[in-house]
């Protein structure tokens, strides 16, 4: 082992993080990023319906404020890792919509050259580490990303996302202990969208407050309204500052809601149409941000401009994803430890 890293060196803040509420400019940016995810996912749903996307496809619609609020609290070089409901995370980290969409259609210009699909994409450049299909598995990997920050004596932070369903996995609790023991710079984010596939949190989890799941290891935590991008950002800024200061991990439980099924084949019989409709009409994060912007006096034309820009990006991504050729079958033999 190399010599122990110097805690003081790790404590230095770097420009890129913001703290507290959002400025009008930031809120506009947040609105734009959430809308991009929403429109991207709607388009992905359409392409799936047309048979251009196959296999598993888990849409993020409804949860956009979570990744956007958190990403705005991060700086360049901070890492992100998540599960298979990952399109929103990728767009939030700055990955290109066209590359994500081309992976969904299984084409050679996709981020994984068509080999990964919806659940398995990476971008070293944007510090996005996937994209994992086994529930909870990314949480222990996130500890390793955080460990490398500590080991290399940087002040970078890893954000490890997982769902309420994954919160019951054994390795999640093992990872909490390890992160607390080693004081790893890791923000654990439980995206509590109320359902692990078709099972509600109440039926799967004895704990009534997931933000307290790190209590045995004294991991500080907060519970956040995940339908409000400002609230998410504020809580994330505090969590990130804690980790960046070398004080160890932090746990955020973000209360959110997915409007669509678990995946494309989910008939959704475990909840009522009214429940979904109520969230859509009363709590939608994008509508909420739009109202705030209007209240701040932002002109309709400025919002319309964002809507048009997002529409253009998504259409361009969809066109690109259909025009890109399929990978050659020989791709099977690349990036494998294999002797033919």
């Amino acid at each position: 082992m190399a010599k122990a890293p110097d805690a003081k060196k790790r404590g230095k803040a770097r420009p890129g993080s913001t703290e507290g509420g959002l400025s009008q400019e930031q809120l506009l940016r947040g609105y734009r990023d959430m809308l991009l995810i929403r429109r991207f996912e709607e388009k992905a749903g359409q392409l799936y319906g047309m048979g251009l996307i196959g296999g598993f496809c888990h849409l993020y619609i409804g949860q956009e404020a979570v990744v956007v609020g958190i990403q705005m609290a991060l700086g360049e070089g901070d890492q992100v890792i998540t599960s298979y409901r990952d399109h929103g995370h990728m767009l939030a980290t700055g990955m290109q919509a066209r590359g994500v969409m081309a992976e969904l259609t299984g084409r050679k210009d996709g981020y994984s050259r068509g080999k990964g699909g919806s659940m398995h994409m990476f971008s070293k450049e944007r510090n996005f580490f996937g994209g994992h299909g086994i529930v909870g598995a990314q949480v222990s990997l996130g500890n390793g990303l955080a460990f490398s920050n500590w080991y290399r004596q940087t002040d970078r932070v890893c954000v490890t996302y997982f769902g309420d369903g994954a919160a019951n996995q054994g390795q999640v609790f093992e990872s909490f202990n390890l992160a607390a023991l080693l004081k790893l710079p890791c923000v654990f984010v439980i995206e509590n969208n109320k359902y692990g596939m078709g099972t509600s949190v109440d039926r799967a989890t004895a704990s009534r407050d997931l933000s307290k799941n790190g209590t045995p290891w004294h991991i500080p935590s907060a519970q956040v309204d995940g339908m409000d991008v400002e609230a998410v950002h504020e809580a994330a800024a505090a969590a990130v500052a804690h980790c960046r200061a070398g004080k160890g991990p932090y746990l955020l439980e973000v209360k959110t809601y997915r409007y669509r099924g678990h995946s494309m084949s989910d008939p959704g019989r475990y909840r009522t149409r009214e429940e979904v409709q109520k969230m859509r009409t009363e709590r939608d994060c994008i509508e909420g941000a739009r109202h705030k912007l209007e209240g701040l006096g932002v002109e309709e034309a400025a919002i319309k401009q964002i809507d048009d820009e997002v529409k253009r990006i998504v259409q361009e991504a969809a066109d690109f994803a259909q025009a890109s050729p399929e990978p050659d079958a020989a791709e099977l033999y690349t990036d494998v430890l294999l002797e033919v």
Binding site: F56, G114, K115, G117, V135, A204, A330, Y333
Partner: protein, 320 residues
């Protein structure tokens, strides 16, 4: 006989066994709403949530608790949804369930069925497509079943539930909608007895699970060319029917083993080696390249062993 799907046949088997024996119960994620593929549809209505038990996404805890429950004489049927997910619980299965009977001098038995659906299915990519049957065949103490037909999915599941030792029960996801004739009521398929799919005298082909149907298609084509295939569906990998395979291979002088799983260190290697040790038959193996399953159709298809490849290999063994 009744005509039903592979999926419905297994559901009927479980329901019959639960009616017969009150100690049989099932546990897994989303069973209460019928299971992720619908394999448990309607069962919670008949048997209640105590016996068709929903569990959180906690594979290790589910399987470990089931081992304990089995040691106490109940008969859990554990649903892991995908064989890929079951890897989260491999310690409980390999270190605990498989060894308890031996380690405790026969005092403890583990009458446990672990359902682990396998195989490529609708572009499911690298973490939802694997066929890992050879892993479990390697472990002393485990039975490994890989049904290929609706009738066998009923008869083997019933046998698995009645077995006093742990059974890794691997259904193929792509076979769920396959229809076939299924005997009604008491239909038990014993372990270690293979099924002769078609008789022939030129080449023995041994396979299991979905790949049996691919081999049957190849055998049909070969029959038109005057090549008689003795096609054997192994049904269970452990125990496996050495008698039928060795007799056939000795008679035809040619053995081809074919499976969807990766060829390297696949169970085909075990069969090929056994046949080579006991007969003078020429042996060949066909399986997937040692690569993960890709998402895009051209890459996914590149790991499939198709009927054309099976037929071509058989022809080459015939010197054609």
């Amino acid at each position: 006989m009744a005509r039903m799907t592979y999926l419905a046949a297994a559901r009927a088997a479980l329901a019959e066994e639960m009616r017969r024996d009150p100690l049989v119960w099932a546990v897994g994620e989303d069973l209460g709403r019928g299971g992720v593929f619908g394999q448990y549809a309607g069962l919670v209505e008949e048997f209640g949530p105590e016996r068709i038990s929903d569990a959180p996404i906690s594979e290790a805890a589910i399987l470990g608790a089931s081992v304990g429950a089995a040691l106490m004489g109940t008969r859990p049927v554990v649903e892991m949804r995908f064989s890929d997910f079951a890897l989260c619980a491999v310690d409980e299965l390999v270190n605990q369930a498989a060894k308890a009977r031996f380690m405790f001098g026969g005092q403890g038995r583990v009458p446990l069925v672990v359902r682990e659906p396998i195989g490529m299915w609708r572009s499911s990519a690298a973490q939802h497509s694997q066929s890992l049957e050879a892993w479990y065949a390697h472990i002393p103490g485990l039975v490994v079943a890989c049904p290929a037909t609706p009738a066998d999915n009923k008869g083997l599941l019933k046998s698995a539930i009645r077995c006093d030792d742990p059974v890794v029960y691997m259904e193929h996801k792509n076979l769920w909608p396959l229809e076939g004739e299924v005997p009604e009521g008491e239909h038990l398929v014993p372990f270690g007895v293979a099924r002769r799919v078609r008789a022939g005298g030129d080449v023995t082909i041994v396979s299991w699970s979905q790949q049996v149907h691919v081999c049957a298609e190849a055998a049909e084509a070969l029959a038109g060319e005057g090549i008689g295939v003795d096609l054997i569906d192994l049904r269970t990998l452990w125990p496996w029917d050495r008698v039928m395979v060795l007799e056939s291979a000795a008679r035809t002088g040619r053995l081809l083993v074919c499976h969807e799983a990766v060829a390297v260190a696949g169970f085909g290697a075990e069969i090929a080696a056994t046949v080579a040790e006991h007969t003078s038959a020429k042996v060949r193996r066909l399986g997937a390249p040692r690569a993960p399953v890709g998402y895009a159709p051209p890459v996914e298809d590149a790991v499939r062993v198709g009927a054309a490849a099976v037929a071509a290999t058989a022809r080459s063994m015939m010197g054609r």
